[in-house]
Symmetry: C2
Subunit: 347 residues, 2 copies
Amino acid sequence: MVLERLIVVGVAFSMMSGVALGADDLQKRAQGMFKPVPHAAPVFKGNKATPAKLQLGKMLYFDPRLSASNLISCNTCHNVGLGGGDLQETSVGHGWQKGPRNAPTVLNAVFNVAQFWDGRAKDLMEQAKGPVQASVEMNNNPQRVVETLKSIPEYVAIFTKAFPGQKDPVTFDNMARAIEVFEATLLTPDGPFDRYLKGDRKALTAKEQEGLRLFMDKGCGACHNGVNVGGGGYFPFGVVEKPAGEIRPVADTGRFKVTHTASDEYVFRAPSLRNVDLTPPYFHSGKVWKLDEAVAIMGSAQLGIKLNNDEAGKIVAFLDTLTGRQPKVEYPILPPNSPTTPQSLLQ
Amino acid sequence: MVLERLIVVGVAFSMMSGVALGADDLQKRAQGMFKPVPHAAPVFKGNKATPAKLQLGKMLYFDPRLSASNLISCNTCHNVGLGGGDLQETSVGHGWQKGPRNAPTVLNAVFNVAQFWDGRAKDLMEQAKGPVQASVEMNNNPQRVVETLKSIPEYVAIFTKAFPGQKDPVTFDNMARAIEVFEATLLTPDGPFDRYLKGDRKALTAKEQEGLRLFMDKGCGACHNGVNVGGGGYFPFGVVEKPAGEIRPVADTGRFKVTHTASDEYVFRAPSLRNVDLTPPYFHSGKVWKLDEAVAIMGSAQLGIKLNNDEAGKIVAFLDTLTGRQPKVEYPILPPNSPTTPQSLLQ
């Protein structure tokens, strides 16, 4: 009886209000296309997150001694206080060299299909090994990293604890494994859009809901969907209209450099739009600093439509609801050098 | 009665053991020369530490947007995870330029008589304004810093809260005031030597106590005393014997550059030896990486004595007891840019 009455009330309410019905539809559509950011890190097969491994991963993430110069840590370009990015067009590394692409955020990165703009690393573990060795980034090499870590008694102890039963636990791969489990904890749940997806229709304002509707109706959601509102697949940048040369530089052919397949020219992994408000500038070139501009460029380049200012403004209002609770990280106390620890190499 | 008995026991115990008597003397002498690191930050006249000001100070300390490049924060060279230093000979700043001197630790720096190796800043507030403007460090200027901070609504809000009643709270001086109160909380109490000074004679091993005795008997304590075991006064580097040119470069005349007084040539503020084990390399030139070497150089340069390996080893064992509990700092979430926030300047 109670159930029947509830249904009747429900129907009457729906009939009374077209807006409510539309909002309800919108929420259902959104729930079919996106997922909220979970509170807990996913579990990795073969790389279990133990307290010791998490602690080690955090230490390594913040330790500039992973770089040849002892100046650059993971956190330099993927700053957990700055939305997991660095506010640079393209990152600056060893010797003040400017790198080729904008730093993707580390926050929620575990939910991306693969890592880097061109997906050349299949997971966070593989990713972690890249910048350490890149000459324009940390300019180090696995042998020197292991030599550094092995020279520091406290690191040897915590590697041994984090990788029990291994004869030689201080390895470059284990470094990457520990960083992976720490990075997987850098999640931003409970943003307005997450609350909306979980059922709280009031978590988005009317304008934000209009933005969400436009985002789905105009086709943005075709590439930007799932937990990360992006990050799930590869798409050509400039499907309909080639963006200005500055925004899509000719020399950076994207995924083509990985696959050497003609159809992958200027193909990039769609970036996650989670916390996008926190991480200007935009695109792999980092040439666009304003989010409404980036939205307008996406409209013309990918969808062949001209979004007016009102539409772009609403979409930006929706995108702002993708900013979640930023991770709390206690700054790790790093173990001291020993007399045999390699010194910084600045050249 | 009970008291009398205790005294008798005490005297009997002292008489029984010359070592114990010596140890007691040693502790008393040490208590007269040094003070333990307190748990709480000192109170600044005219710069009260409120929760809002402390929060703001921490944000600013970690915010690379105080630098022109948006790449360098206070924490870059004064890393709270690395004993408050940077493990560089001399710090590296804007454009990968190598600065002139080794970064002094920020930990317990509030107890120094003045800041910088030459004492040119009378306190932490004045110090904070230096690196922000130095072309080899953060290469920024007060006007651009204020423009940046004013462009970020959350900063305007927290400056307003931290400096209530001020018409224009977002100023370069207030930036420095907030950083000062935060830095004053970066203390390392409860190290073995602190516990020893507070009465726990067993906090130092026999070898460490011998090191302490040598430290006082040989004359190290003449310059390195007080809370910071140093940091309290200015002394010529090379009183008795000029250190090798690499260690005391001819061009860096120290405090002479501040006072232009002949007697201040090669005069430097005695560095604090708190947490000295964590902060190689040593001296203002950063040319000495090993603490026992630094101790031996001090012996010959300042005291005109040759410490043998055994003596230097004992003094190093004592110096290691100056490592205290490192500060717990939750990494601050920094407020996002607005569209008017100045972009990074890399040139």
